[in-house]
Amino acid sequence: TQLLEQSPQFLSIQEGENLTVYCNSSSVFSSLQWYRQEPGEGPVLLVTVVTGGEVKKLKRLTFQFGDARKDSSLHITAAQPGDTGLYLCALRPHQGAQKLVFGQGTRLTINP
């Protein structure tokens, strides 16, 4: 069974600070997705990373896929209260699989 571990589990910082959260797998994966989930809502896709070493940017969010395709990170620059939410990483257990395996998430709180 392929497991995803996210760290930290909880993070509370002040507006304007930078932060990084991590997602690690017990084995190599073919692709990985990052989602953000707000209370009472379903997860919303932020990005999909496929290639080892790949870096994608989405405004103040930078996503990186590890060279060995076993880990990923999300870095947020100058965090804002609107970034508050549950950040989830998810992978497909093998190429062609339709289901997603999610990590337990990092609950991020940005204080004004």
């Binding site: 995803l4 996210q6 692709s31 009472g40 809502e41 379903g42 997860p43 919303v44 896709l45 999909t48 496929v50 989830l88 998810a90 497909r92 190429q95 062609g96 699989a97 339709q98 289901k99 997603l100 395996v101 999610f102 990590g103 337990q104 998430g105």
Partner: protein, 115 residues
């Protein structure tokens, strides 16, 4: 609306009762997924439909859980003889399907509480 719609938003039921949870996917999406999210956890896969057929039901925890999608659109997740451990948010998602990397869009979920 244009998104995935789930009803009811909240459901409280007594232990041992039967419940049905409904999902209306985005129009034209052939793939439909059910996930379950317990408090403090990420979503856990239950079942995936491609059209009317269940292509992967490996996540259903036991035979009390069953899902249907008779016309390839609306899906119903059915739970028999509910237990307190079934309490969770049940999420539905849909996608255009066809390839593994098409984006899945999630509904807001149904919060099920078994008392």
């Amino acid at each position: 609306g244009a998104g995935v719609s789930q009803t009811p938003s909240n459901k409280v039921t007594e232990k041992g009762k039967y419940v049905e949870l409904r999902c209306d996917p985005i129009s034209g999406h052939t793939a439909l997924y059910w996930y379950r999210q317990s408090l403090g956890q990420g979503p856990e896969f239950l079942i995936y439909f491609q059209g009317t057929g269940a292509a992967d039901d490996s996540g259903l925890p036991n035979d009390r859980f069953f899902a249907v999608r008779p016309e390839g659109s609306v899906s119903t997740l059915k739970i028999q003889r509910t237990e307190r451990g079934d309490s969770a948010v049940y999420l539905c998602a849909s996608s255009l399907g066809g390839t593994w990397n098409t984006e899945a869009f999630f509904g807001q979920g149904t919060r099920l509480t078994v008392v």
